[in-house]
């Protein structure tokens, strides 16, 4: 009886096992990288050209988000303040502080300050701040408690899946519009999660909130 299997098949099992091991390792590596905050860069906290402290300005001095990010309610982009905005106060307060040297230089020369971008929307996707803040989504939902950060870092993954989580179930995040810029606001009740769910569902129904789940909602 002739050999049914040719000689090269002797090594086939070991090849299959090796391939499976390699593949498994690759899959684990990919999951470990792409499915974790490392990929979405949660916690990304670069050094900024001027060590601006959000906690100092918001918590201690009581400034509103919209003093600096003044166009967040009307524009797609929530603007980074111009040097002029900073100089409104810092031409009088802390005007010789060496930490603000870069800022003063920018103000005098007109050269923009190279703020490092932390949150950014990938290519092909478009995000609009105004529609979110006007319909009851607070800054804190996407940016975390910036009011408590000494140096701003990325708090949420801001991946597409994360966006869709809320677009499919906005009740988790919608709050009364007057509380949008109050990052410490919590719905009243013993169980904040349950209270938010109740209030959120009510507002979603009342305001007819149907966030787009179509591709064209964000991709143009």
């Amino acid at each position: 009886m002739p050999n049914l299997f040719p000689r090269w098949t002797n090594r086939l099992p070991i090849k299959v096992v090796t391939a499976a091991v390699v593949l498994g390792a690759l899959v684990s590596a990919a999951v470990a990288y792409f499915f974790t905050p490392k990929y979405t860069q949660v916690g990304y906290q670069p050094d900024q050209p001027v060590p601006f402290q959000h906690d100092l300005h918001v918590k201690q001095l009581g400034m509103d988000c919209r003093y600096c990010h003044s166009n967040v309610e009307v524009s797609a982009a929530s603007n980074i303040p111009t040097a002029q905005t900073c100089m409104n106060c810092h031409s009088q307060i802390q005007k010789n502080n060496p930490k603000l040297a870069q800022l003063r230089k920018a103000w005098e020369t007109g050269e923009p300050l190279p703020w490092v971008k932390i949150h950014y929307v990938p290519d092909y996707a478009y995000f609009n701040h105004s529609v979110h803040v006007n319909r009851g989504v607070s800054c804190v939902s996407c940016h975390g408690n910036v009011d408590k950060m000494e140096v701003v870092y990325k708090d949420q993954p801001q991946s597409m899946g994360w966006c869709l989580d809320c677009h499919r179930d906005p009740a988790k995040h919608v709050r009364p519009t007057e509380e949008v810029f109050n990052l410490d606001w919590k719905p009243s009740g013993d169980n904040p999660v349950k209270a938010q769910r109740e209030l959120g569902s009510q507002l979603v129904k009342q305001w007819k909130i149907h966030p787009p789940e179509n591709c064209s909602g964000c991709h143009r």
């Binding site: 860069q41 670069p46 166009n71 309610e73 009307v74 524009s75 797609a76 982009a77 603007n79 980074i80 303040p81 111009t82 040097a83 002029q84 905005t85 920018a106 103000w107 020369t109 007109g110 050269e111 923009p112 300050l113 190279p114 703020w115 490092v116 971008k117 950014y120 990938p122 290519d123 092909y124 996707a125 478009y126 609009n128 105004s130 529609v131 006007n134 319909r135 009851g136 009364p176 519009t177 009342q206 305001w207 007819k208 149907h210 787009p212 789940e213 179509n214 591709c215 064209s216 909602g217 991709h219 143009r220």
Partner: protein
Amino acid sequence: MKRTFQHPAEPKTGKKYWRSVEELADTPKFREWLSREFPAGAAELEMDGLSRRSFVQLMGASLALAGLGFSGCRRPEIHFAALSKSVEWSIPGKALYYTSAMPTRTGAVPLVVTTYDGRPTKIEGNPLHPASNGATTLHAQASILDLYNPDRSKIFLENGKESDRQKFDAYLAGLLPKLAASAGAGLAFLADVNNSPTRERLKQEILKKYPQAKWAVHDPTGSLQAEAVATAFGPGVTLTPQIEKADVIVALDSDFLGLDSESTGYTRQFAARRKPPKEGGSSMNRLYVVENRYTLTGGMADHRLRLKASQIPALTVKLAQAVANLTGNNFAVTLAEIPLPVDQQWIDECAADLVSAKGKSLIFVGPRQPVATQILGFAINSFLGNIGQTITGFTQAVSQQIPLPELVKAIQQKAVSTLFILESNPVYTAPVDLKFDDSMKSVTDVVHLGLRKDETALVSKWHVPGTHYLESWSDALGPDGTYVPVQPMIQPLFGGLSANDVLAAVAGLKIPQGAEVVKETFAKVKETAGSTADWSSFLRNGYLENSAPSPAALTFSGPLAAAVSPPAEGVEVVFPPDYKIQDGSYIDNGWLQELPDPITKLTWDNAALMSRKMADKLGIGRPTHSDEQHLESEMIKITVEGRSLEVPAMVAPGHADDSITLPLGYGHAEGATGKIGRGSGFNAYQLVASAASYFAVATVEKTGKTYQLAITQEHNQMEGRAVVREATLEHFEEKPEFAKTMFMDSHSPPNISLYKNPDYTSPERKSPEQWGMVIDLNSCVGCNACVIACQAENNIPIVGKEQVINNREMHWLRIDRYFASAEDEHNETEPEMVMQPLGCQQCENAPCETVCPVNATVHSDDGLNVMVYNRCIGTRYCANNCPFKVRRFNFFNYNERPLEKMKIGPLPESSGLYFGPLTKKGTEDLIKMQKNPNVTVRIRGVMEKCTYCIQRIEEGRIQSRVKAGASDNLKIPTDSIQSACQQACAAEAITFGDLKDPDSRVAKLQDNPRRYRLLEYLNVQTRTSYLARLRNPNPKMPGAGKVADIYPDEHAEGHDSKDQHQGEGTHH
């Protein structure tokens, strides 16, 4: 049981619609060419001499080198560059709109310009202006690209060498005292036609200071209209034809819907009168056209007569005679008995129709026809009592100026020593017999100001980089004489000077800063107009209210006995400006270069157009598909008075025999264009003499050479499937629903589908809006403004001539031009022409969606067929399955790689696209500045298509939500969202809106009897629908029976059974 659908065969009888002479001839080679997705060879790498293997080696090597640094593995640090000082009004991420106007020769186009972060990105019409419906012309849309032309003139040149502003100022400072000392003797100006009051004011200042200075004006398009109007009605008169009031219009070699109207008004008024009476219009107008070649106006004609341009003066006399006989006017002009190949009945019936619409008719004579002929045209109008009725006008102060030949004479008599040439290119455009370039050498100081470093710039002593109209302050008069601002929204990008700046400097004024020079004019105009508007409301509205001059009482006093030039014997050659690049000033505009000519569908070149009979006479065969299956056209040599030019010949259906049309504007000198215009076309100005600037007698011969033309007319054929539908007004009134029952739609079986058709109207759908579009073929004249508007709005790249030949043009919206001829004469002599704008039809049952393996094209809740670029992997299945062929594939990085031909190392010369990574990557910063920030700039390997301007829809939706805030009032205001093509359309042929909103215009049009959808029998359920075209022939005219002789919809009667016809469904 599978149902395979067979497309119906073309009807054997009746009318045939075709797009090119090759299609009409139906050669086997053409069939083969057509059946390929792309022409043969296009799918392969075309680099002769370079094998695929060596190319791959090269690519591999460069890839390996690029990968060494692993630079791609780390996310780069990205910076914000927030401004140092806050800018008034500017909100990052939000558009800011400015009113302005584009100056043209016959009256400015009022505009609203969209800017983002200080960059103008898109141009729209100004809907507030009384003579505008918010639409724009083709050139207004495209002009923004000239602002960002990377090859525009950027530096001062002194004798061709780099110089700067300081040196020029010093030169002027030295020159002016000399001029003042001689009271301006020897000083001359040469400018293009321009009606800016500020320029006029500065000119008067100059003439006051230098009384002996000369001011010459040169119109390179060869228009003699101003002269004719001045002779017939007195100096300073501008005519404003009231097309809306005219029931019968006759256009004698006048392209008043295309070339001869630089504003949108004529098209808007004409289209308003094409609505059938049932749809709320008054009666439908009737248009007679006589012309030597098909023009846009000819395409809209109810009766069209092809006639040599040189015979039109004779025809005008005959028509005048016929009208005068009927109206009892005295008409004494006699014509030597010249055989005119025109049926006398045509003239008589046309005249009778005109007389029946006395006071409500209108005669247009082409502005390039001899002055005497144009005056005859006014005479006919006056016989008909149209003056004061359909022809009104206003009077302006007459400005002292001399024509170009007089200036040249002065130069030759050494009477000019200093010449300022403002925004004109006479070295290229002046008639050859004037020998302008030779004469210019005797002028010691020539200062040229222009946007481009053109032929004149190269030989002038000084070249001053000009400013674009979006960069510098000026003003203008609109087509109705209203005072409009030309407002800049960006600083001059390269620090150039405007014509006003130079004039102010010469006048001894300080070079104006900002708007002050215009403000001064404004104050005067305001005073004259008795207006109380202040400067800011003037800028806000984009025009000065009540500044339109009051209508003048026109009295026709033209000399009627004027000699009429006899018809040219033999072959004539006609020189109109080009539809796209006009007189040649748009030669470096990539959008216009790549735009298919509205009639010939030719891109990147011009060609000698002629009839089939003429071509046969010259021995020119049909263009052949060469080995690469690309069309090779034969070259001919045209000789006019000893000057000759070799150009490719192109057979143009509907062209007059013994006549050749050669558009002007192409074939610029080497070095006088940027990358885009280099080597494009052939210079017809070489044949133009001042005595015969429009038509000339020529001898023509075949040269035996060939030339490759990039023509898009054969791309994306429809193969006669009742795509355009038309009928006569009479037929429509008898049978209003004719379009619904034409051809297949009369007897297709009800569509059966295994799956439920998606019901987008069901209340469960989340989206409260359902988008749709209706395109009225009756209004569309085919001006192509929508195509460029789409290109500007959606960041659509240009691909270059080579790629157009390979069918890779990227236009999301195209205009299909069909010729139609009756069955018994499937010939190319006298077809009718129909235009059809075609973008994605947004099928509800989209065939593209079912074949995409990665779900990159899907349906949204609001009924759009959306394209998700970041999912697309470029299989192109969708494009193959699209019955409308409206999907476009980005084969190369058209946005990032050079399109021009180049040579790298030992590799053969080829388009930069084929060298891939060996070329510089990246878009020029200037080009980037034009891009719409709300639309992705797509990369290579991605499919793209029309999305009904999804960015505008989303913006509208977002604004409604922002406004709603903490409430549930989510309604988007009715008809508040406009697609880019709709906004640009002067004829209002495109209507876009929410089908679910009963008040929207698009919803109301759904019940229009003329409405039909394309390829309904495929059950694709398109969201875009069309309104069938109507023609309004005069039954008494010869050949009236053939006009819009419709499809054999007789099928509708007596053929209810489903099995008799081929092409329905065959069951297997």
